[in-house]
Every structure is written in structure tokens, then in C-alpha cells.
Symmetry: C2
Subunit: 235 residues, 2 copies
């Protein structure tokens, strides 16, 4: 079977940033959505190719809000050969008095559990499902809001923890992932909790669309520009 | 008389980038438009303040297309104490066979003359009227079109020539300049030649407006982000 188009896009990112290396033990953050499902599917296929020896498993950190991993997606994971561990955290229980629930708090709590689990179980890498649009939206939020040129990088080694964060979907935009998820009938859910006061990201998504006209070529060149910085021609 | 608001914006750029230094001999490129008129007016006022000893003069490089410097603007220059030299270049005469006229060719030919004049007459700096919007538009064109993070910097020392290019309007956007030009009744003209096949820049202007919503705060933070690059959080 030929490689799906999305997997060739991921292959390039894996090559460019050495995201999978011999002997890696990779924990994949599984949300129940299509981004992380595609990532798990990719790791399963990549492992079968035998290009390098590595192990991986998915971890779903369930919370008291958000969608669970559907029974059908569990069957797909089993079929692909993706081991799935699960744990749960009460994001409400951890909320400090006087604070209200929001996407940032929920995701931070779940990320903390993901990190702890990876360290406790000897994983050296954590793979996250952030994609090209996520990364460019963060770029715009940080530039326009904080006056800082930064985003979520494809590969980030923590200073404090013995794990490296990898984002193999860094070259894939939303349309590519949606097309792939439909073609492969992923049984995924989108978070529909009522606490998504995430107007900053919604706003950034609209700005990115306006800036690039939705063009994949423009998005990719904008991303490449971040690797091709010419200090002599900057303020 | 209090400093005009635009001049306080220019003051900050002059301070941040040391654009005017003791003993400077500055040649100001005069197009006949409001950007370079504001720049010449600023230099005349700055010189009267005596904050540093420097000399300056304007040079208008007339071409066989584009608007001349109006008689009324000449009177304003004389009133402000701005010396204005002039020369002319045939941008059509220099056009190579098979090529058609465009903004890039016209401005490159005029810039070459400006550079040569500055060097021949012992100027150590050339001041250009590019403003914040120009610089951010160039940033977007280079990022989306070339995959490169670069623009016209506020201060650029040529490798080949003994002159430094300065852009004191780097913190001023179009609305600030228009408001100033109206308040001070500048008698300026906008180039209306029929060869402005400059769709790349028009397109970039629309993208910048869509990205920032025209907000000066957003434009300034985007510019600040170029000075606040976090390599560890970039691809």
C-alpha cells in the first residue's frame, strides 16, 4: 500500500528534525481527536517499516470535561497496533478558588500528567498532535500580543525534565489532516466542552487565514522563514 | 511650539538606533511625497534643537516618469531651511531591451544615483522615507514569497559603500504620517505614473491590514517581535 499523503508530509518533518531516532521510547499524547489519531496511526506504520528500532504507546489523559476516546477509535488503535494507556485527572478539582475553567488550565493539567507519566515510565520523547496551523497561530499570537518571535517548536528539549517534546505534524495543515482523517474513516471527536473561552486562538486562526488566504504554500513559506532568519536585514 | 506627535515617534527611532550622531552629514532622499517631506521637516527641526551637531540636505532624483517636487513644497522646504539639490535620470533610457518599466526598476535607478551622489559629496548617511507599514509589508512579502525573515532595517551599513542607510520613520505608520501631513499642510504629490505593476506590494498591504486590523499597537508589537527573537522556541 502506498504511503498516505499526510504520512509523507510527516516523514519529511521526522527527517528534518530527527524526531524519531534509534532506540527511542515515545509517548504519544492521545486526545481522542483526529490530530493525535493520525499521529498514532503514523507511528504504527512507521514502526512496521522498520526504518529504525523504536517503541511507542499512546496515553489518553481523561479529564472531567472533554470527550473520551470513542469505542470505535479504540478498535482502530487495536487494529493498527497502537497500545493505549489511560489515566484521569480532575481539572475542576485542581482549579484554584476564584478561577474559572478554560482551555489553558485544562490542557496544562493534562500536559503535566503526560510529562509525569512519561518520566515515570522511561519514555525519552513525548509526541504531541500540534500541527502547522497551531504553530503559526501561536506565532501570530506571540508576535502581535507579546511582541515576541516564538512558537511551539517541532523539537524541544526540556531543561528541567529528561524528555524531548516532538511535533511531527509541524508541516501538516488542518485541510491535509481533515482530508486524511476522512479518507481513513477515523472515528474521532472534537472537544465540545462549554469552557472554550479561547478567543485568542480563534482570533489568531482568523488572522492566519486572512494573512495566507488559506494557501498551504504560503503557510509553509512562513514556517520556513522562521528557519531562514537574516539578522542583518532586521531591526 | 510643542513637538508634533510624529516627530516624537521619530525621536524614539533616532534614539533607539542612533540614527543621528555627532558630526553626521546626512543626505535625505526627497521624492516629492509626504513621507520624505516629513523626514526633511524633522531634520530641520532637530537641527534647530541643537541636540547634536550634524548637517543635512535633500536630494530629489527626478526621472522621466513620476511627479516633480511642487513649487509649493519647494517654498515649504525654503521656509523650514531644508537645502534641496536635484538631478535627473532617464529610467526609460536605461531600460534594457525587452524589459518593461515598473516601480522596482525606476526606484533602483534613482537609488543608485542617490548613493553615488552621497558618496561623491561626502555624506556618511542616507535617510530614506520608508515607514513602519513599508517595512512590515516587505517582511510579509519576504516571508510568504521567499520563505525568508527579513525586511528593510532602520539602520543598514553597506558593505560596499562608505554610507549607512537610515529609516527614521520606522516606528510611524501611514495614518500617523497622513495626519501629520494634513495638520502641517504639506504640498506633496503621490506618484501617479501608469507603470505601477506593483501588485506584490498592494497585495502585501492588504495582507498587513487583514493581519493587524490596522491597529498601530499590533503593528508596533509585530515590529518589536523582530528584535525579540527566541531561537529556542522556533523551528
Amino acid at each position: 500500500m502506498p504511503q498516505p499523503k499526510l504520512f509523507r508530509i510527516i516523514d519529511k518533518a521526522v527527517y528534518d528534525y530527527r524526531l524519531i531516532e534509534e532506540g527511542d521510547r515515545i509517548l504519544v499524547g492521545i486526545s481522542g481527536g483526529k490530530d493525535s489519531a493520525a499521529l498514532a496511526h503514523y507511528f504504527a506504520c512507521r514502526q512496521k517499516q522498520g526504518r529504525e528500532r523504536f517503541s511507542f504507546a499512546g496515553l489518553h489523559v481523561a479529564a472531567d470535561i472533554g470527550s473520551p476516546v470513542s469505542a470505535e477509535l479504540r478498535r482502530q488503535f487495536a487494529q493498527w497496533g497502537v497500545p493505549l494507556a489511560e489515566m484521569s485527572v480532575s481539572v475542576f478539582g485542581r482549579l484554584k478558588p476564584g478561577h474559572s475553567m478554560n482551555c489553558w488550565w485544562c490542557s496544562t493539567q493534562r500536559r503535566t500528567e503526560l510529562n509525569s507519566y512519561a518520566i515515570a515510565h522511561g519514555y525519552n520523547k513525548i509526541a504531541l498532535g500540534h500541527h502547522l496551523d497551531d504553530m503559526l497561530e501561536t506565532l501570530l499570537m506571540n508576535a502581535l500580543g507579546k511582541g515576541e518571535l516564538s512558537t511551539m517548536p517541532p523539537r524541544l528539549t526540556y531543561q528541567k525534565y529528561p524528555v524531548t517534546i516532538i511535533r511531527p505534524l509541524c508541516y501538516a495543515d488542518i485541510p491535509a489532516i481533515v482530508e486524511h482523517a476522512e479518507a481513513y474513516s477515523y472515528s474521532t471527536a472534537t472537544c465540545t466542552c462549554g469552557y472554550q473561552e479561547n478567543s485568542g486562538r480563534k482570533d489568531a486562526r482568523a488572522r492566519l487565514a486572512a494573512l495566507t488566504g488559506g494557501s498551504y504554500a504560503h503557510k509553509r513559506r512562513l514556517f520556513e522563514a522562521l528557519k531562514n532568519i537574516r539578522p542583518e536585514y532586521l531591526p
